[in-house]
Amino acid sequence: MQAAHRLIEEIVSSSRIPSARRRREVLRELQAHVEDAISGGVTERLAVANLGVPREIARHFAWVYRRERAVLRLSVFLLSTIAVAGSVAAIVMAMKAGVAVGFGVPLIRMFNPRHTMIEAVDILSTAAAYVGLLSLEKLFDRRGFPKAAALLALIFAVLAAAFAMAGRPWKFLLFGLVAGFFLRTIQVLLKSHAARIGVVLACFGAVGLISLRPLNVASWVVTGLGYLAMTHLAARVDRALLNRLQQL
């Protein structure tokens, strides 16, 4: 039964059925089928051949379970975005509190409600763009990053247009998209952690320099560091949530 078992494992592992329980059931079902064939007098080799081409069977299963897969991916995306945005916001705010203390600036000034709200929305938008890129890249077998980037840009453009038409603020979407692209691009292009840190510090610091105020430079630098932490966190959170939800 080794050849049959290998074939069935291959079918199930490439079937992209989202639920682990369902995959186990398919495994049992196909095993029972081969056992029935063998006990009916068919050789294992023929039973395996009669089952068909693993990739083709897996493709049929993938088609049947496409909706469940989409729902799972969307759920993972939403939960990951919330978890990652929450964590990054906490990191950035904590570091900013440190900056405020270091510069002798009252915390109330550093965290005035309007500015903090804008910053929280920017972080949420950036996390959504970054996690969205990671999720969309999985849809493509080859050249995932550029295709995902194009698709995400389209989604954000539609959202921005809808927000603008409804008279709602939309610029945070543009900020999130640019920041998400930037962070994912340096992660794809630069393999060295030191180089990534250097580029992020330089770019975010440069944005802060526009105001020519040291406090703003420090504030932007810590924001950049928070986003850099996001690039480490997002893939792990995404993978952990996907594994957990697949077990349900």
């Binding site: 056992e35 029935d36 069977i57």
Partner: protein
């Protein structure tokens, strides 16, 4: 005689629902029954039967349950739901209508 896959694709649901209208069956039994009744005309790969069954189950036309046979072997049995029973009758009517129309065209040549 080999049957074109495209012909077979559209009729798989009808075949499966019709076979199951005579009682609950497990996968290998369904395959054997289809081969026997069609005098081996349906030579589709056995593994592709299961995605088709799962698709019907998702549509609520059939339901499944694991049962242990006399030899202690577990098998997943499929049976029609009331909705599946109705669909089986509808598909059969459509099939008779379609084949009648196709035959009429073919015979008129």
């Amino acid at each position: 005689m080999d049957i074109d896959r495209e012909f077979l694709k559209g009729s798989v649901s009808l075949l499966l629902l019709n076979l199951l209208s005579r009682g609950a069956m497990y996968g290998y039994e369904i395959f054997q029954e289809a081969s026997r009744r069609s005098a081996q005309a349906f030579e589709f790969k056995e593994g592709t039967l299961y995605p088709a069954l799962h698709q019907l189950e998702k549509k609520g036309l059939i339901q499944s349950e694991w049962r242990t046979g006399e030899n202690g072997r577990e098998r997943k049995y499929y049976a029609l739901t009331p909705k599946g029973r109705k669909s089986a009758r509808d598909y059969e009517k459509q099939w008779v209508h379609l084949t009648g129309a196709v035959n009429a065209v073919l015979e008129s040549e």
